[in-house]
Symmetry: C2
Subunit: 414 residues, 2 copies
């Protein structure tokens, strides 16, 4: 996590970095439009080239021809565990511990209730007051349902609130706004030291940087699949339940697919052994097929190499701001070991600046109230692209073109 990052301070150096980039060949695995610098893969990953034909086949042959038989002959039934294992391989989970399905919100609910139930005499849930809204809302809801107290604290200050009343702690590995990567190992062991359980949301980490859930000893984890995993819009999320907790995990969303014998149609719920107890209802097969195909882009890719390139890309941006952009604040940590795969810039009129950049083909996103967020997917981004994006940022700010009234028009979705 602390690779030395060789600074890139000119377009020539960026081109040299591209020439030497061992991951450059991976861009051919994506269908990113020419001329676009896509720095929003942390919101919706770009389209891998193999997805279209896989989904077309799933519609025309699997659904159209094999129909209901596809649950057996085309392996639909085993998709949640097979795709789960593929995701598991990217987050340090040995097979049989990750189940793919539903949304991150639903998986957070499952995980929080299950962990809280493992500590019935402890009455506090801890989360981060800057955590992604869904994480906080679900924690509020679970606390209310179970009659627990909810405490909010910054992840690096968790020790200050832990005590014998703490049942579980739920944090995101990377702050979605600032891009701050927390010290997963230290936090997990601090939480465990207080006898509490640790739930990690890896939405902004999975596929972006190495995470080793098994080694961390996380008690549960969840994540989405449409950001750095490139699984497509609303791709099914996933949940990690470590083997040591599976037999005691008491999950609240008791769907028929998680039953020990789903086809015996038993009127009473008995959970399946293993991670299959985390199955809920029938998964969205077409979206899951797209995700499954999209994961091919990681074939043969070392996450450490991906991480090294990501840090050089984000380092380039930070150095560029320091050297060329006064009035812009880098809110993302400069320490590589504390930086996710994004850089967030605090800028006046951040919404308008974001829109002006998009109009120039540099796609980042705005996060209220004042951040321009730039995400880096090393699978398809080049150093020259990112250099040119920063030149565009510089130009948009210098010319004041963001003041054009059309950039102030708020879209429904920002």
């Amino acid at each position: 996590m602390s690779e030395p990052v060789v600074a890139i301070r000119s377009r020539v150096e960026a081109a040299q970095a591209d020439d030497a980039d061992p991951l450059a060949y991976l861009r051919a695995r994506f269908a990113v439009p020419d001329g676009l610098v896509y720095l929003d893969g942390n919101s919706l990953g770009a389209l891998p080239v193999g997805v279209g034909s896989t989904v077309a086949d799933s519609v025309a042959r699997e659904w159209g021809e094999d129909l209901i038989g596809s649950w057996n002959v085309n392996g639909w039934w085993t998709l949640p565990t097979r795709v789960g294992d593929r995701i598991g391989a990217l987050v340090g989970a040995a097979p049989g511990q990750v189940l793919c399905g539903d949304s991150t919100t639903v998986q957070l609910f499952q995980a929080m209730v299950a962990l809280a139930r493992l500590k019935p005499h402890r009455r506090v849930i801890v989360t981060d007051g800057a955590n992604f809204p869904t994480d906080q809302y679900v924690a509020e809801s679970v606390a209310r349902l179970l009659g627990l107290e909810l405490v909010r604290v910054r992840p690096d200050e968790v020790a200050s609130v832990l005590d014998a009343r703490t049942a579980l702690v739920s944090f995101s590995a990377v702050d979605y706004r600032t891009g701050e990567l927390w010290d997963l190992e230290n936090i997990t062991s601090t939480v465990h030291g207080a006898g509490a359980l640790m739930l990690w949301d890896l939405a902004h980490a999975a596929g972006a940087l190495p995470v080793d859930l098994d080694r961390l000893g996380a008690d549960a984890a969840v994540g989405c699949s449409y950001k750095y995993l490139n699984g497509g819009p609303g791709a099914p999320a996933w949940i990690y339940l470590p083997a040591r907790l599976q037999e005691v995990a008491d999950l609240p969303l008791t769907g028929w697919q998680g039953h020990v014998t789903p086809f015996e149609l038993d009127p009473t719920y008995s959970p399946a052994p293993g991670v299959e107890r985390a199955r809920i209802g029938t998964p969205p097969v077409l979206s899951m097929r797209a995700l499954d195909a999209s994961l091919d882009v990681f074939d043969g890719v070392a996450l450490t190499e991906l991480r090294a390139k990501s840090l050089r890309l984000s380092g380039l941006v930070i150095d560029y701001v320091d050297e060329h952009l006064s009035g812009v604040e880098v809110v993302t940590p400069r320490d590589p070991s504390r930086r996710g795969s994004q850089v967030s810039l605090r800028v006046a009129s951040a919404y308008e600046v974001t829109q002006a950049l998009i109009a120039r083909g540099v796609v980042g996103d705005f996060r209220a109230p004042d951040l321009v967020r730039l995400g880096f997917t090393p699978l398809y981004l080049s150093f020259v692209q990112v250099w040119d994006a920063m030149e565009t940022v510089s130009s948009v700010l210098a010319t004041g073109e963001w003041r054009d009234p059309r950039f102030a028009v708020r879209a429904a979705v920002t």
Copy 2:
């Protein structure tokens, strides 16, 4: 619901019925393989022809080219309400009351918790002991989470268990095994008469027969979209929350998309007004696009006409069994007003018989322990097809070809 059904007692009469069928043109809207008699549309509806191109476009253009901008420019954000309204039109819900997303299991959980919270001093949930497993499992889970009691009763005997302790009653409109259609109006008013709330699961009703949720005064309803709605494998489910309850519905799955101002990233949950509060996490867009396109098959179709054809198809089957198949018991009600869009046959060795039928191109399904279930989607089935299917049933039973050992091999998914 009580159309007189003119009996069809020969292949010639079946062919005459096809010639006179005002819905025969609808078969061209589906890509059902030639030679297959697909009687499993109550498990997975057949593929509508327009879906492939819609999904291909959603992958290649929306995701691939427009990327994150698709939430605005391609209307991804409004899909759950737009598709919800289209489903609402098929179940008698005025616009703004149906939200599409997640699985039926998740929607049942949402609805049951919300309704129970509306009756905090009543401590009993009632469901059907023969209800689909998920419905019973979720009722068990919700009862446990809220400290309520769960009572099981046949829907037509609900009056015997209702009292001032009953918070809500959760039934399926059509019994998934027997095909029995309950008297929705009478049951709903009986439940309301006891001061309790009524939740209907329309999994086996939506798209199969007319339902008028608004007129019924149902307090909530849920359904899946991959059976008679033909939305594709694992198509997102839906929830109906009537306008009169929306502002007081206190839903437990508090995802960011259901927040009143989702892009202000408020750390505390405040639900959106209207049915949008039922949004949870990011929906599986590709699967929802498929569902949206599939609903086109209902354009210009009167559900009353669909229902009339469905009853003639199921009537043909019942008459055929009576006349030709000794040793086979029709467990589905003979009264058309009490019959869903299926006929279930109790047969010795039902699993093997089902497999032998599939091998002959007649696709129904087996439901444990002893039923062959035949579902009828009038959109793509002809009378001659169903007649021929019954001739095949007759032949499979008469020849004993179902005794071939290969038909006894249990598939993972039955």
